[in-house]
């Protein structure tokens, strides 16, 4: 009989209207990295929340280190050494690194904080992980990757033995990911068990020992990583084989739709020139912080421009705010759906209607509910959004479905140019393919598609032309046929000589 540090059996959890988990099993060995996989909404996060005591299970058993735990709570989970590193980091950004590490269990001497002692101990933990951060730094001033490491250090300083990492790499650059993997390997050597949740399957080869797959709230299988391959894993996740990871269609390159001339907006957008034609998808590649998002925001009028012209269908347009861009026919599906894309407390229908109220309202500004219902129904069916009803909160949907709403709200109107910023971040393979199909559909209809992505295979797979940015400048442009990963990377790291 194999010994497991975590053993979950017959876990069932229902939310009003949905069975999130149905008789699921899960186990974890000491000192292994377990890749916990499944599509968005498969129930991974729910199960991990049950394991860490955030949700109560409806039925089933939880065994930690061989001992049955009847009522798991966050406090209990902490005592048992379970820690989650969340997708959205849970840090007090105004406090220092050490203050965050010791949050809730501050050390005191007769009621006065022992700041120096805490700084020293925080430095120790950080050093053990070979993380180069000063414990007195304010957390908010650190980049996301470092914040994440602080969170790992925090977990370790409370002697966590079971670490759950939910999409830890979704906001990291490749160098930062390497650093993270180094830390994961070290944790493993120290005997930590790690549950690793990610949609970036290519990463698994560097860290995973074993794989557990969920689909639609049900347990599918557990595999040794060495005895499987990515195609098999994807087939288990989706329940069918995905034949085309990057579907592409050929279109005739038509007339010029958009031209950006000498666009400048702050340090991250410098002298940008680009053109976009009918029937093509232009990918913008680059490292994190290359100024891609800033460029799209400047075009869309979110951030103010210092100079530059935007020429749409041969006519110069003036875009000072997003309203102007939308009116002109340029729309942007932003990168961070929780922060920029969705009103999570409003319904799916309200979200889809929001940028299209000009179409849905009569002259006096009264919303035509019939039109709205029709628009929502069309968007939901075109994008295959899974919903209990059009009027559920957008925030209650799974990540992939949320992303589809963000994209869907822009497709309900006739635009000339659609800009996608990281449209597939943190969503599963099947949902990704649906988004690609959608982009292809736009391309076929003669709409210009600009597409920012940090995932190299995706940029190369979907774009007809690739523009590479580095340090706020365009450093190169490659045709799809001539582009290679090496070339893109070389251009993406062409920093200015200082």
């Amino acid at each position: 009989m194999e010994k497991f540090i975590v053993e979950l059996k017959h876990i069932t959890k229902e939310f009003p209207g949905v069975k999130a988990l149905d008789d699921v099993q899960f186990n974890l060995r000491q000192g292994e990295v377990l890749a916990f996989l499944g599509e968005n909404g498969a129930g991974k996060s729910t199960l991990m929340k049950i394991l860490s005591g955030v949700y109560a299970k409806d039925s089933g058993s939880i065994k930690i280190a061989g001992k049955e735990v009847e009522h798991m709570s966050p406090t209990k989970a902490q005592e048992l050494g379970i820690a989650i590193i969340h997708q959205e980091l849970n840090m007090c950004s105004h406090l220092t690194v050490a203050e965050n590490i010791f949050l809730g269990r501050e050390m005191t001497k007769s009621g006065v904080l022992s700041t120096r002692e805490m700084n020293r101990m925080a430095a120790e933990v950080l050093q053990r992980l070979k993380i180069n951060i000063n414990p007195e730094t304010i957390v908010g001033s650190l980049p996301v990757s470092k914040q994440q490491m602080v969170e790992i250090a925090k977990a370790l300083s409370v002697n966590a033995r079971i670490l759950i990492m939910d999409e830890p790499t979704s906001a990291l650059t490749s160098a930062e990911i390497e650093e993270l993997f180094r830390i994961i390997h070290q944790l493993k050597r120290e005997g930590c068990a790690i549950v690793y949740i990610s949609h970036r399957l290519e990463e698994l080869q560097f860290i995973a020992d074993r794989v557990i797959i969920l689909r639609d709230g049900q347990y599918v299988t557990a595999l040794e990583y060495s005895s499987t391959n990515l195609d098999e894993i994807v087939a288990y996740m989706v329940g069918r084989e995905i034949t085309e990871k990057f579907p592409q269609i050929e279109c005739e390159k038509g007339k010029k739709i958009l031209e950006i001339k000498n666009l400048n907006a702050g340090r991250m957008v410098r002298d940008i020139n680009l053109e976009l034609y009918e029937g093509e998808i232009v990918g913008i590649a680059g490292l994190m912080g290359a100024g891609r998002t800033e460029t799209t925001r400047a075009i869309f009028g979110v951030d103010s421009k210092e100079s530059g012209d935007i020429i749409l269908d041969g006519k110069k347009v003036f875009i000072k705010k997003p309203e102007d861009a939308i009116k002109a026919g340029i729309v942007l599906a932003p990168e961070d759906r929780k922060k920029d894309g969705l009103c999570t407390k409003l319904s799916v229908a309200d979200n889809i209607a929001l940028p299209n109220l000009d179409i849905l309202c009569n002259k006096t500004g009264v919303v035509n509910m019939k039109k709205q219902d029709k628009m929502t129904a069309e968007a939901v069916s075109n994008l295959k959004i899974k919903l209990a009803g059009d009027y559920v909160d957008a925030g209650s949907l799974s990540g992939g479905n949320q992303q589809k709403v963000v994209v869907g709200k822009w497709l309900a109107r006739n635009s000339r140019v659609v800009i996608f910023d990281e449209p597939t971040r943190g969503i599963d393979v099947a949902a990704k393919v649906e988004i690609y199909h959608l982009m292809n559909e736009l391309k076929k209809n003669g709409i210009g598609v600009l597409f920012v992505s940090s995932e190299m295979p995706e940029v190369m797979g979907i774009s007809d032309r690739i523009i590479i940015m580095c340090d706020g400048r365009i450093t190169g442009e490659l045709d799809k046929k001539e582009a290679t990963q090496d070339q893109i990377l070389k251009l993406a790291t062409q920093f200015e000589k200082k």
Partner: protein
């Protein structure tokens, strides 16, 4: 029967209706209790008075609800009520035609709303601070217009004005009540059926997403503060008509009453949630408690304590009903 069921289902599908129904039950219970304690509670005369007491709270509640749903707050409401009362009364004692006086007052009040909106949306000041400032300024203006004295009686010439806003009846119902109903109908329609209403909810739910969807955040924010100032103006005028004079401390603490009416009715102080039907119920609970406790002979101090408790309990009740338990704040 079938149609009835469908109607109920549709009613429940309206966002925020759940909380409204919960507090409506509370309101009914309160009415029954006061009815038993005092048989004259339900007398025609008291009901008329009660509704007249509720009207101003409802009006400022509507304004505050608008602001709260955008995720902001308006602390200047009470002072604008005071300002409205004092400016209009002062002008009338100086012989200005009451309607002309009201018009000038309206302009002054809307100016405060306009400034509030721009301080919050254009200058990006925290709404608490911005409206704390304008609250103090508006109160100062209320004091200064008549040289730091309450005004004399606004006189016989203002009788028509006083009847229109307080003493008169139309079709057997006090005008004040009719004004409140009309205002509610208009603003409820705007909030639930128009583009501006959608924008208000969107800003409260996620201001960044709203901006990126082409919503004019500045314009909409200014609009909600204008609505709030407009309603405070109306209440100030009604107060002036009621008393027949201007008092410098008119509307004192009204901004908080307005928050209470909104919050009891299910409007979230965090923005994005709530409906004006809730504000009606919230304002009614407020009025019924004031009136009922007064009838039951409770002193002002006891009334304050009870109402404070009700505010906390009603919000707590909503949390319990929604989550089924006292939810632990997750870290």
């Amino acid at each position: 029967m079938e149609a009835n069921k469908k109607g109920i289902k549709k009613l429940l599908a309206v966002r925020g209706m759940g909380q409204v129904l919960t507090v409506t039950v509370g309101l009914i219970i309160l009415c029954i209790v006061f009815g038993i304690l005092n048989s004259t509670f339900f007398s025609g005369r008291n009901v008329g008075n009660l509704l007249r007491q509720i009207a101003p709270i409802l009006l400022i509640g509507i304004g505050q609800s608008y602001v709260l749903i955008t995720g902001n707050i308006d602390l200047s409401i009470g002072s604008v009520v005071g300002m409205s009362c004092m400016i209009s009364a002062t002008l009338m004692t100086k012989g200005v035609d009451p309607w002309m006086a009201a018009l000038i007052t309206l302009a002054a009040c809307l100016a405060v709303g306009f400034i509030n909106g721009h301080l919050v949306a254009t200058c990006q000041l925290p709404p608490f601070i911005a409206t704390l400032g304008t609250m103090t300024i508006a109160r100062g203006i209320a004091q200064i217009v008549n040289g730091n004295y309450n005004t004399d009686s606004i006189g016989e010439s203002a009788k028509g004005f006083r009847d229109f806003f307080y003493y008169g009846k139309t079709a057997g119902i006090y005008n004040t009540i009719l004004i409140a109903i009309a205002i509610w109908l208009i603003f409820n329609f705007i909030l639930s059926k128009t583009r501006t209403g959608r924008h208000i909810y969107a800003i409260g739910s996620n201001v960044e997403a709203a901006k990126l969807s082409g919503v004019s955040v500045v314009g909409t924010t200014v609009k909600v503060y204008l609505v709030s100032a407009f309603n405070a103006f109306l209440v100030g005028i009604i107060t002036c008509a009621t008393a027949g004079m201007g008092t410098m401390d008119a509307g004192n603490a009204y901004e908080m009453y307005a928050v209470a009416a909104s919050v009891i009715g299910g409007v979230s102080t965090l923005g994005g949630q709530g409906i004006l039907l809730g504000t009606v119920v919230g304002a009614s609970i407020w009025g019924v408690l004031q009136n009922g406790l007064q009838f039951a002979g409770a002193p002002v101090a006891i009334r304050n304590i009870v109402i404070g408790i009700i505010v906390v309990v009603s919000v707590l009740l909503d949390v319990v009903v929604r989550t089924g338990k006292f939810k632990k704040k997750s870290r």
